[in-house]
């Protein structure tokens, strides 16, 4: 019957709408379900995952020493030419010339956090830091020199 179908349609339609309204009504009254994080407010308690890829840093120990030999493996591994290593020659106490890094230039603005440089590094001198608030007012600030002033290579690293 046409009329029966017509009325059935109306009621099934209204029912389907009410089911949806019940669901949103549930969330309207149950505030425990709220999932948003209050980001700048929770900075103190915010913990990023250990492996989060934020930016490349050169690891320095307490004696201001790093493990980078300047082999440029990371520079070659980088797909975007993010890393540029400028080397110099140090004079060792024995009077020999030894290659060492002068500047470890890192272009954060070009980096895509692909992790290939970390994998490529033979001496585990660099790692990914968990920082993520990278915004600055001038693009030039994103070009970083990773080796700290006065730092030198750790003993025993070839």
């Amino acid at each position: 019957m046409f009329i029966v179908k017509y009325i059935k349609d109306i009621f099934s339609g209204i029912k389907s709408l009410l089911v949806g309204m019940r669901r949103t009504g549930y969330y309207f009254t149950h505030h425990k379900e709220i999932i948003t994080e209050q980001y700048p407010d929770n900075r103190d308690t915010l913990v990023m995952a250990d492996r989060f890829k934020g930016e490349v840093v050169l690891i320095h120990d307490e004696h201001n020493e790093h493990a980078c030999t300047g082999c440029t493996a990371c520079e070659l591994a980088c797909p975007n030419a993010t890393i540029k290593i400028v080397t110099k020659f140090d004079i060792t106490p024995e009077g020999k010339k030894k290659k060492a890094i002068d500047k470890f230039v890192y272009h954060l603005e070009l980096c895509t956090m692909c992790n290939l440089c970390i994998v490529a590094c033979p001496t585990d001198a660099i790692k990914m830091a968990q920082t993520f608030e990278h915004s600055v007012y001038d693009r030039a600030e994103l070009t970083k020199i990773l080796n700290k002033p006065g730092s030198k290579i750790r003993e025993g690293i070839e």
Binding site: L17, M21, T24, Q38
Partner: protein
């Protein structure tokens, strides 16, 4: 000094100022309410930055809209483009007149209040069409055309469901309608037919105020922003405000006609209960009912997907209109046979 002309003038100024004040206050409250309702339904917190618990968020928005440049596009019909938001606003203001906000408190007690409201609210479509046409933007024009078709058709079923109450009360005067509900609201007194007409009324006014799921005139994902695509700054804010005021007004009318306006909730012979209810001020009853209806309309918006234009018109002409016509017949029979309580 105090002749009647002066008194009249002062009265009108007071009324005007209070209406504008009510407008501003309502706009702020409703926008905040909408955002809060949306946020909670979407498992978020909503505005919580400006002021305590984000209470001043809509104030901040208003300031932003006020200082924003109100651009008029080059190819637009400048006169109509600038006129349209004011017409939308004026319509919203005019609709305020016959509404009873509390016991014996209304701007204009006229004997054709219901007719006045249905007549004035139809003018709203003109401002939308004007805005859409004058913008010289295809999206705007399509939005306006959709809106025209939509408002004209949904006015029918909204009018018919209002008519059921008029039939039951036998008066077009809003005061009479409220007084007729002293012994119970129409939604309880009028059996199922009034309930049906109440549901139809809510659906129809949701469509008439261009709210989701009937927001085809704006249809963000289809027409970017529909008829107010080209508007910015305060001119946009006027449209925005007019939409919320319209929602308030249609809900106020719904509360007046079906839920007894400022009449408190009474149950038969429970004298004690009825007395407690009488202690609650009538304005609170009115605003409580109105805001409940507004909440329902917001609830619709944040739950349902949007209809397509042909489905929208199908719903009106194939479902709502026949049902409300049949319903009106039933109500008339009830009124004649005095079957209602």
């Amino acid at each position: 000094m105090f002749n009647p002309t002066w008194a009249m003038t002062i009265e009108m100024v007071i009324a005007g100022v209070s209406v504008i004040g009510l407008f501003a206050a309502l706009g702020l409250v409703l926008v905040l309410m909408e955002r809060r309702v949306a946020a909670w339904m979407q498992i978020r917190l909503g505005p919580n930055r400006v002021g305590p618990k984000g209470m001043l968020q809509s104030l901040a928005d208003t300031v932003k809209l006020l200082v924003k440049e109100g651009m008029t596009p080059d190819g637009s019909d400048k006169f109509l483009f600038n006129l349209a938001p004011y017409i939308a606003m004026m319509v919203a203001m005019l609709l305020m007149a016959p509404i009873a906000f509390a016991k014996d408190f209304r701007l204009w007690d006229m004997n054709i209040g219901v007719l006045y409201i249905t007549a004035i609210s139809s003018i709203m479509v003109i401002s939308i069409l004007m805005a859409g046409w004058a913008s010289n933007n295809k999206y705007s024009l399509m939005g306006a055309m959709r809106s025209g078709a939509q408002i004209v058709s949904y006015e029918l079923s909204a009018g018919l469901s209002i008519l059921t109450i008029v039939v039951l009360t036998g008066s077009l005067n809003i005061t009479d309608i409220i007084n007729a509900q002293a012994d119970g609201w129409w939604i309880f007194k009028g059996h199922i037919p009034v309930l049906i007409s109440f549901v139809i009324f809510i659906i129809a006014v949701t469509a008439e105020t261009n709210r989701a799921p009937f927001d085809l005139a704006e249809a963000e994902s289809e027409l970017t922003a529909g008829f107010h695509t080209e508007y910015s700054g305060m001119k946009f804010a006027l449209f925005f405000l007019a939409e919320y005021i319209n929602v308030f007004i249609v809900c106020a009318i719904g509360a007046t006609l079906f839920l007894g306006g400022w009449m408190p909730f009474h149950i038969g012979n429970w004298e004690a209960f009825n007395h407690v209810m009488d202690y609650i001020p009538s304005s609170i009853w009115f605003f409580g009912k109105t805001f409940f209806l507004i909440f329902v309309i917001m609830w619709f918006r944040w739950t349902f997907p949007r209809l397509r234009i042909d489905q929208l018109l199908n719903l009106e002409w194939k479902y709502l209109l026949p049902i409300s016509m049949f319903n009106l017949l039933l109500v008339t029979a009830i009124a004649i046979l005095k079957w209602h309580f």
